[in-house]
Point group: C2
Chain length 708, copies 2
Amino acid sequence: MEIDVDKASINKISELDALFKPRSIAIIGASTKELSIGNVIIKNLLYYGYTGSIYPINPKEPEVRGLKAYPTIFDVPEEIDLAHVIIPSKFVPQIIEDCGKKGIKAVIINSAGFSEMGEEGMALQNAFLAKAKEYGVRIFGPNCQGIINTDPALKAYCDFTFTFPEPGGISIAALSGGVGAFIMQSLFDLNIGMRMYASNGNACDVSIPEVIRYYGEDEGTKAIILYTEGFADPRDFMETAKIVARKKPILAMKAGRTEEGAKAAASHTGSLAGADIATELIFEKTGILAFRDEEDMCKAAMVFATQPIPKGNRVGIITNTGGPAVIATDELVSAGLQIPALSDRAKNILKETMLPEATISNPIDVVATGGGQHFRSAMEVLLNEDQIDSIYINFVSAPFTDTDEVARQIVEVNKLKRKPIVCNFMTNMSLERFQVTAKILQDGGVPCYPFPTAAAKALGALYKYHKLKEREIGLPVVFDDVDQIQAAAIISEAKSSGKEFLTAAQCYYLLSLYGIPVPSWRISNDVSTSISAAYEIGYPVAIKADSETLVHKSDLGGVAINLKNDDEVRNAVIGMKNKFNPPDLKFLVQKFLPGGKELIAGINAERELGHLIMFGMGGIYVEALKDVNFKIVPITEVEAGEMITGIRMSKLLDGLRGEKPIDKNKVIEILLRLSQLIQDNPDIKEMDLNPVIAFENAAYVVDARIKI
Amino acid sequence: MEIDVDKASINKISELDALFKPRSIAIIGASTKELSIGNVIIKNLLYYGYTGSIYPINPKEPEVRGLKAYPTIFDVPEEIDLAHVIIPSKFVPQIIEDCGKKGIKAVIINSAGFSEMGEEGMALQNAFLAKAKEYGVRIFGPNCQGIINTDPALKAYCDFTFTFPEPGGISIAALSGGVGAFIMQSLFDLNIGMRMYASNGNACDVSIPEVIRYYGEDEGTKAIILYTEGFADPRDFMETAKIVARKKPILAMKAGRTEEGAKAAASHTGSLAGADIATELIFEKTGILAFRDEEDMCKAAMVFATQPIPKGNRVGIITNTGGPAVIATDELVSAGLQIPALSDRAKNILKETMLPEATISNPIDVVATGGGQHFRSAMEVLLNEDQIDSIYINFVSAPFTDTDEVARQIVEVNKLKRKPIVCNFMTNMSLERFQVTAKILQDGGVPCYPFPTAAAKALGALYKYHKLKEREIGLPVVFDDVDQIQAAAIISEAKSSGKEFLTAAQCYYLLSLYGIPVPSWRISNDVSTSISAAYEIGYPVAIKADSETLVHKSDLGGVAINLKNDDEVRNAVIGMKNKFNPPDLKFLVQKFLPGGKELIAGINAERELGHLIMFGMGGIYVEALKDVNFKIVPITEVEAGEMITGIRMSKLLDGLRGEKPIDKNKVIEILLRLSQLIQDNPDIKEMDLNPVIAFENAAYVVDARIKI
């Protein structure tokens, strides 16, 4: 399957070259009117220095912004790689056909008035898409900004925005143009160079996953920033992200994480915002660095653009002022980093090289009067410390020191790229003197932040990426002792009989076929068959009323537990017979297992994504604490283990106050077999295994509800 | 007590006027050397335009920076209000004496070399402090930056830093000069005016609480920013903050919240960093707005400087681009704000006034082509909506709109100060055109942020302050059915006998004296007295070995519960007699109460602050989840209620799955009585009431350990 994706992506990449690396661009709807989109795009291409040919298309004007204009694209004597379409929506289907005939390979439709405008717009969108497919034209948009490629050999600014980025290593993909634009602006303000930019609005053809794949293959792209409000095809995105995130850091933010936010998202784009949990799980599963604050994301981009990835979590701090080191330490430690002690060797060197007032420990306080050589020595010491993985610097521009020299020393060490460096540079940028210092740091590629917490957060993100890269979840186990054919038969039989829920017998049988332990059970019809069943199983037993119509049997009094003898079985069966009277009423007689820890597991179908698997503490904990967590099916053994350790009350499973711990491996196996079951039988919509009871050396699914 | 504090603060304020409003300043240690502190301070005073007299003191130079210098302060013919001291530490005690003789009322000691440098420095500090007390001189510092007063009539820049703030309403108090300086710089960068600044280093005399009181009385101070790494006198701070926070917002950050951060703090200042929990509780109790990120705090200051406090949590959003509204909605909702639907009246107006493409709902999307009149109409509609308390604006500077006009309209509405407004202004500030727009917004006092999350966070902080102001915790209840004299006698008796822990009998008796319910109990010596005790109390009973030496009796087998008859009592007593053999061994026979919810309560002495009271879920929950919370003693009824609803598993107390709820009022009463007990008996160091068992209509302390 992955091979297919790769093949597909290779094909699509060559198509997308016309979009991202056009040798010539037609602007269909070019306008002489200042500030109109058909004018601004040409202005931007010229201003940014596009190296290809620009062909304004306008039936009335001889030229636009000094360039010769053509009445139609057919009048352009040369080949055209890419066209901007900025004409009323009703004319777009015809124009796409024309583009196809002219051999144009990619079209950016800036015009609005399509799927975001209801049925009529949707019909127009379908109409031009049909033409595009017919002629093999790739569509970017509609209702979008466009793309930017900062490659100095190309300089393609196919967009009507107003930020003109310097070339660099960060590429941006954003569904929302508004957010994409301010992310680009933010990188610009932070002096972070950009590689490519894409904001594809309604995204009817070229998709975000395709763009991410393209960035993944692009050598100039060192890291990717993604902004989304949901995924049209989450599976496609996941498969793509899994491959690309292995090669390059993907920094992502998904807005619409609150119910209200999702509502706001749905009302402004054509895309459907999914439940946020699924997005978070996709980010986690594919190794994407997730952010909740777009400013943090942009600031983190600065370290990804300039710094190597640390090999571990141990930070050496250099400071020339006390308080900011305290603040930085708080944030670094919160992000999982450590501030280890220095070796004696390091301390001895520092005693020689630092000012007498300096603090020789970690943080190293070179004090405000410390100069370039003091910073340099401290940095060298940290570079040579084996137990230090990265360097954090607080640098306040003390007026009585040669701040330029300090900056030059930091730059020298930064150039070595031996360990990542971040700098909290605290200064007054309105003073020319310190602008010079800042410029030295900036030109030297030192990521500088004006606040200690911001610098520490950026380093924290870099470390988090290290952890994501280190995390090896492995491949899903495949159990071969399962009976796939019988299982499929149960489900298709239930489906063909029009049932929504499996019966108890079907549930337990299905679980057994996948090797998921259930307590011994029999189905009985009345008192006498129930008693014989109890004898076969052995007392104590539980009895559950079993009927398609009794979904919440426990709440209704359809469950009797810990029955120790024939009388108790008789009373339970008679009681239920009096209470319930569906024609299909049967009884499930089940071995009763006293003690153990009550857990819960489940499955939920999640639209296009597939299924989510859930695990948590059962009983009142589910209600009172919602102490559960989710993963995307299929899960691996590592993931199943993470599900168990990931709940807040995980410690309860380790045995407290002399209690015996549960056998976690048995629970892991249930989760893995459940994952396989659901992969083989994707028609299942929901499963509630509640409770799963775990003991010191076993675990059983004691009750199950399966919706198909 | 509060009256005393107020009186004291009034006295101190007049003293502090010499510090914050000096009519004349001597610089002892004035220097002709550029970049030296003794030169920079004079340069800063001159540059900033200090309106008083400056007297450089230098025995060798006739003038410094063009000002006549005097060999000693005694040579100055005029009165001196304030002196800077910038001479080696060993000369400082003599100079302070001279200052006293000259009648100088306040001295800023910039020099270092005192308490932060060990014993020798501490001796010097004590020496000059003795002189200061003798002559009534107030000391600011030592080892500090100084103060700034931006009052246009004064312009006192008594500091060697390099940021020259515009006048405004925010005053800053910071122990750490490094952090204080970059907070001041950050306000400057954000174009937020400042009122006063104080960074007092070692803080040997004038304290942070005193400065806060002074700011509280200062009419020009609208809001206060505080940075600290711990409190020398937390009780003093708390009493001060309680009074000042009622009048003015205090935005505060305490660094050293992680163990590592606290360590870094302790190594760089003379102040002791307390356990972070205590600081958080002080902030909560006094109504201080706490921040964990100094950048968020500075950005929040912008809304506090310009906007009214909202009356509730309902926000109206106006946007001219979709995505940022989604991001803003996420953050606003996370901060507890709501985005309510608009009234039909509002919608009808908007249908008339908006562009056809606009979205008529909340968020109101005026679309990118929307102009000044569209923003204006949307704002007016929100001003007139009763169910809207504040206005959030996303304003991207679309190149094809008259952005200046939009800005002017926002400013017009902002001037009305009817409801708070925040603006996420997304633009390219390197373009002159948009600099003009930004200037209009800034001059109009509109708080602008370049990111939607940042703008939303600032509004969230404003709303949080509204909630803090609304929160009325009331006064502590005083129960008059307690026997204070007997209780004091128990403790003093135990103390005088040199004991560290009270015996079980003392514990239960003490609790009873304060009306805290305990199950009926007797103390017995052997089997027969235990059996008689059981008869008096009634079966079932619990028996606990009682000896001063048995602190963790439960773990050692010194507790037997649910004893139903004489035989079981006999076996329990004999078993314990065989196991333990301390000379003082007795037995506590106690009514056994089956069922109920296991809770925990406790008391902990917290250095200078007094005592903390703790409440939480008992049993395995304490170990597995640490589901407890703390408050500072004394607590009020509201606070006791918050302690119960504040634990994560609070829902378990409401009765789940047919369980009966506990009587929370009974638990509240226990906490209140406990608070009173500890206030009356502050010698108690620790109390563990574990478990407290709560039932449907009662609650009892079942086991207690009290350390004195």
